[in-house]
């Protein structure tokens, strides 16, 4: 919403400065977007006339001008093609700074002629890019006066943001009303005097709606003005419209724009000669077409409001007028429309046809339903003032929609909700100044809402009105006190787990990325995703059109980008959501990480090696262990999903079904499909699958029993079939004596050599920890035999000789 300071003051009688008004606007909720002082770059430049212009003796394209600056006559050499005798322009004296070029003028000799100043182009004062000629002012502009005044630019333009609830401030008058309530001057009264109609309008209006659609346009006020002359608007009107970025067209059209901007009251003007038969306001018919004033043809459905004549739709109610019956310079009889269009239907029409107009913007936010006739009278006067003519009687169809309502306000709510103590008198004063009518109803106020405040629906709205005008700054600040003397944890156990996992992975040298929750269908399908239910209907690009089934692909893509920038060995992780369906319980939280390329950079003491499945397994197990998962009880099997290398990957389960996560080398085919260089070792951990941490009654640790006797270690090497896993062998060994065996670890594994095909050797170290006495050799031998027997039974393994 734009207007000039002077325009505002036409409605608001105030001595407040521009800065004061601007600050107050912001502080009552009409936030200043920009204050544009257009005269700033014209400061110091004056109106001057070229009294003599002669061709430069030594240059074809230069003119030597004698310029009357109002004070003196100076000689100026000018290169502009339009510099000529008698013209009035903008003069910059020697010594002045030219904002558009950044140059300070000095008297200069141009090919033997001294130039003592400059006649300016629009570009030189930052008004436009026009540098083809110098600015030409009206002939009667007083010489020596500020150029800004002569150009109508001395009035600063104010631009404010209007929130969607404040349709009433989409006109300068409404803004003035709010400022007046806030104590910035007084609102000047409107001239609502009716214009006397001298004849009956030959154009009739009927509202043709069914019972359930009459809300589309319940009220229509029209009037014919005959014998008008529609020419260019006067300077004041053109300057107003230009100041706010509108292009003056013709007086009649400019008047409708002025009414829109000044009062938030959009109007439409029909050339009555082009209207065939009476006007009918109705819903559009499917397939009906209209050529609108923006030069585009629109095809309508059956739910849009049109104003139609015998030839068909002439205007889209509340949105845009039609070309066929629009006013031109030749219009003689004009029919003015001031109607009320339903906000929702107007918004829908505008959206469906993608028409953005000042009228739509106002109707969809709700125009004042009680201002149709006032608006018509003001507009009629403007038409008759600017274009002459004779006004008909009003044509009124339908009736003013009922807007009257009372809202109860308990005055104490200003304090209990608004947080500021105010007297009832002050509350009533503010509401009254905003146009509310307060009546005492026992302890509370019965507040009648004015017609232009469609947004006020409840007590909280009135509290806002009162506090807003009183000033949010005046609400005393109260710190929030918690219920308990000490804070309790803000995070629950699962949230805390994510924080822990994040910190742990960073400790392990991984860098946390935050990547999009979406990706391309092609990439999603590599990771078991891409379901229809998760496809965005309006993606921002085809690369980001489905919700991610896993965190890995975006991390891998990030690794690819980093490799392209020269960082090959990326270690990235992310903690965030992944999706397998659209329901709230079909998304989960995961931690995923990747290590790319080599274990490290080249180093004098350590050779880097390619990352492998055990890098990823280490990350995954470290996270699980830190989260309190008994990793020694995990069942790790080699059936990881398809995006992992089938031989270099595993699944971590707790119990037969609960998959806690995967790890492994990413499948080379997936790398190729994503065009990322490997190897990449990755893992995924699913927080939702983790067993809840047990709520323990006591934080105390169990008693620590340190053994008193020396532990004994024994090594065994077994030859087993290749299919036997380390886990099977270790479990078998461990079960030999659950009490005595304190630990079993695998320290060697190899295949081939003289073992023969299909065989491998696994060597383990068994720690025996006696608890109540030193072990005898016989006891040690007995346990050793049991280990060998157990392994042999469980795996078919044979002790190597």
């Amino acid at each position: 919403m734009k207007f000039t300071f002077g325009w505002l003051k036409e409605h608001l009688d105030t001595t407040a400065s521009l800065d004061e008004v601007a600050l107050r606007l912001t502080m009552i909720g009409l936030e200043i977007d920009k204050v544009h002082d257009r005269a700033k770059d014209l400061a110091g430049f004056v109106v001057a006339r070229v009294i003599v212009a002669k061709k430069h003796p030594d240059a074809d394209k230069l003119t030597v001008c004698q310029v009357d600056t109002g004070k003196e006559t100076v000689e100026v050499v000018c290169g502009a093609p339009n510099a000529r005798q008698g013209m009035v322009g903008v003069f910059a004296a020697s010594g002045s700074y030219i904002p558009g070029t950044g140059i300070t003028l000095k008297p200069t000799e141009i090919r033997g002629v001294v130039s003592n100043g400059m006649l300016l182009s629009e570009k030189e004062v930052n008004l436009s890019d026009d540098h083809d000629g110098i600015i030409e002012l009206d002939d009667d502009a007083p010489l020596g006066t500020p150029a800004a005044d002569a150009m109508g630019l001395s009035d600063p333009v104010i631009e404010i943001e209007i929130t969607p609830n404040r349709g009433d401030c989409l006109g300068v008058y409404g803004v003035a009303r709010d400022l007046a309530a806030a104590g910035v001057g007084t609102l000047r009264p409107l001239n609502r005097e009716p214009v006397k109609g001298t004849f009956e309008s030959p154009v009739t209006v009927t509202l043709d709606f069914g019972k359930d659609t009459e809300s589309a346009c319940p009220y229509f006020v029209g009037r014919l003005v005959r014998g008008v002359k529609n020419s260019e608007s006067p300077k004041w009107l053109k300057e107003k419209l230009t100041a706010i970025g509108l292009r003056p067209i013709s007086a009649l059209v400019d008047i409708t724009n002025l009414m829109t901007m000044d009062y938030g009251r959009p109007l439409h003007v029909f050339d009555a000669a082009k209207v065939k038969g009476g006007l009918s306001v109705r819903l559009s018919k499917k397939g009906e077409k209209i050529l609108a004033l923006d030069g585009k043809e629109y095809e309508l459905d059956d739910a849009m409001t049109v104003i139609s004549d015998d030839n068909g739709a002439q205007a889209l109610g509340g949105v845009i007028g039609g070309d066929a019956s629009g006013c031109t310079q030749d219009t003689v009889d004009v029919f003015l429309e001031s109607a009320y269009f339903d906000p929702v239907r107007t918004a829908m029409t505008g959206r469906k046809l993608n028409v953005i107009s000042d009228a739509r913007f106002r109707f969809e936010r709700g125009v004042d339903p009680a201002f149709l006739i006032d608006g018509m009278e003001i507009a009629t006067r403007l038409v008759m003032d600017l274009c002459g003519g004779e006004a008909s009687e009003l044509v009124v169809s339908g009736a003013e929609p009922k807007w009257q309502r009372d809202v109860t306000l308990r005055p104490e709510r200003i304090e209990t909700l608004g947080g500021v103590t105010m007297t009832k008198k002050d509350i009533v004063k503010i509401l009254s100044s905003l146009g509310f009518d307060c009546k005492n109803g026992g302890k509370s106020l019965s507040v009648a809402v004015p017609s232009w405040r469609l947004d006020i629906v409840g007590e909280a709205c009135l509290v806002e009105e009162v506090v807003r005008i009183h000033g949010y700054d005046n609400i005393p600040t109260v710190s929030l006190k918690r219920d308990t003397s000490l804070p309790s944890p803000a995070l629950n156990s699962s949230q805390r787990r994510r924080v822990t996992a994040r910190r742990l992975l960073a400790v392990r040298g991984m860098v946390e990325a935050v990547t999009y929750s979406f990706l391309s269908v092609k990439e999603a399908s590599l990771f078991g995703g891409g379901a229809e239910a998760l496809k965005l209907m309006n993606p921002i690009s085809a690369d980001l059109d489905v919700m991610r089934p896993s965190l890995l692909p975006n991390l891998m893509a990030a690794a690819g980008r980093n490799a392209a920038r020269g960082t090959a060995n990326a270690r990235l992780f992310e903690i965030g959501p992944y999706f397998w369906g659209a329901a709230p319980d079909e998304q989960g939280m995961a931690a995923a990480g990747i290590r790319v390329g080599a274990s490290g950079g080249r180093h004098w003491a350590e050779q880097p090696r390619p990352v492998d499945a055990f890098d990823a397994k280490a990350d995954a197990l470290a996270v699980l262990a830190e989260l309190g998962i008994p990793v020694e009880k995990l069942d790790i099997a080699a059936d990881a999903p398809a995006w992992y290398h089938p031989g270099y990957s595993g699944v971590m389960r707790l119990g037969p079904k609960m998959v806690l996560g995967h790890f492994g080398v990413i499948h080379p085919g997936v790398l190729q499909a994503m065009n990322v260089k490997g190897p990449i070792a990755g893992f995924e951990i699913f927080f939702n699958a983790l067993p809840e941490p047990k709520e323990k009654k006591s934080k105390a640790r169990p008693h620590l029993d340190l053994p008193q006797f020396q532990a004994v270690e024994r090594d065994f090497a077994f030859v087993v079939d290749s299919g036997v896993t380390a886990a099977q062998l270790l479990a078998a060994a461990k079960s030999a004596d659950k009490k005595l065996i304190a630990g079993v670890s695998l320290f060697d594994a190899f295949e081939g050599g003289d073992l023969g095909d299909g065989k491998k050797s696994l060597a383990i170290n068994v720690v025996l920890q006696p608890l109540d006495k030193t072990l005898t050799d016989a006891e040690i031998d007995a346990v050793s035999d049991k280990v060998v027997a157990n392994v042999s039974k469980a795996t078919g393994g044979v002790l190597r000789g």
Binding site: T26, V463, Y472, P487, V507, E512, M537, R571
Partner: protein
């Protein structure tokens, strides 16, 4: 007795003169061995009378331990010399780099969320969460944004296909639907913050299709706008670590709050740089307000009894302002150079007592 004295002198001299461990061993054997001279002298003690035996015996014992001690001392001096000689030949270039240890980083988004949670946690707000894929009712209607509300158009919503009874699903455009879910699931009072991912169908220098918000909701019987101001002023000053940071509230509009406000903090803009603090300019950082009674009613909370406030803050915006990160889009590029520069050490865990 003079024999003993003479032997002492002889042996001590021999030990002093010993040239190596072998010499010492020879001296030890010749003095203390089975057939050594001290041993021999001790064997002679049996033939002496009691008084002499006692006297000579004591002297021999003293000599024995003295010589053993002298041998030990000399031996360790040889060992030291030998060690020193060996170490003299051992040296590395200590300026060589250490074995590589990868340094991890915490993303500034996570760090900022942790900071915000630390501050509001201190005020008694707990973290709540909800789904990223929402239905229309939770994301809009329950928040007093009916289907034809102009505010709905401004949300640039991402849509997903029909699901269950829903005509379509949406990616939540704000974290506010979690307000609804929390209130529907529990009973007042409510004190919560909701950090999370949010989505808008928009991409340019200042918009990302995904970003993070933190929502707050405080509902009880007494909380009013003064508390809203206090809570947010305390937060802004703690977060930006500027004790007297100017904070101003100005009226605004959100369908889900009434009254509504936008919050600006003081800043200084100079030479294209922005600094948070006392200055002549203001910077908008968040929207807030008192929960609209309609929203409470939509969640079956009695609006005649309960009231409170809600607000939403953009996490990236907070991070950008506090840590001087110039471009929103860089947050999601996962450029390791960026992450190392703007990321945080895993050990800098924000807390009010430990510092933010």
């Amino acid at each position: 007795m003079s024999d003993v004295e003479a032997l002492r002198n002889e042996l001590t001299a021999a030990i002093d003169a010993a040239g190596g461990l072998d010499d010492l061993e020879q001296i030890r054997v010749s003095a203390l061995g089975k057939k050594g001279r001290i041993t021999d002298l001790m064997k002679g003690l049996g033939a002496m009378d009691a008084d002499t035996r006692k006297q000579v015996g004591q002297a021999l014992n003293a000599l024995k331990s003295e010589i053993a001690q002298a041998l030990e001392t000399k031996k360790s001096s040889f060992a030291d010399a030998e060690l020193n000689a060996r170490l003299a030949g051992e040296a590395v270039d200590v300026t060589l780099p250490v074995r590589p240890e990868a340094e991890g980083r915490i993303n500034p988004i996570s760090q900022t969320i942790d900071e915000v949670v630390a501050i509001f946690g201190e005020m008694g707000l707990g973290v709540a969460e909800g789904p990223d894929i929402e239905d229309d009712w939770h994301n809009f209607t329950a928040l007093n944004i009916p289907p034809d509300h102009p505010a709905r158009q401004e949300h640039d919503t991402f849509y997903l296909p029909a699901h269950g009874d829903e005509e379509h699903m949406v990616l939540r455009t704000h974290t506010s639907p979690v307000q609804i879910r929390t209130m529907m699931a529990g009973k007042p009072p409510f004190r919560m913050i909701v950090p999370g991912r949010t989505y808008r169908c928009d991409y340019d220098a200042t918009h990302s299709p995904m970003f993070h918000q933190i929502e707050a909701l405080v509902v009880d019987e007494n909380t009013h706008m003064g508390h809203l101001k206090g809570c947010l002023i305390d937060f802004c000053r703690a977060f930006f670590d500027v004790d007297d940071l100017p904070v101003r509230f100005r009226p605004s509009y959100f369908p889900f709050t009434e009254p509504s406000a936008e919050v600006d903090i003081g800043c200084i803009r100079k030479d294209g740089e922005l600094r948070i603090g006392h200055g002549d300019d203001w910077l908008e950082i968040l929207g807030c307000g008192m929960v609209n009674p309609k929203v409470l009613e939509n969640c079956n909370v009695d609006s005649a009894k309960y009231q409170g406030f809600a607000f939403g803050i953009g996490i990236e915006r907070l991070a950008m302002l506090k840590y001087g990160i110039p471009d929103l889009r860089t947050f999601y590029e996962s450029d390791l150079r960026w992450l190392r520069h703007y990321g945080f050490s895993s050990l800098s865990v924000p807390s009010m007592v430990g510092g933010l």
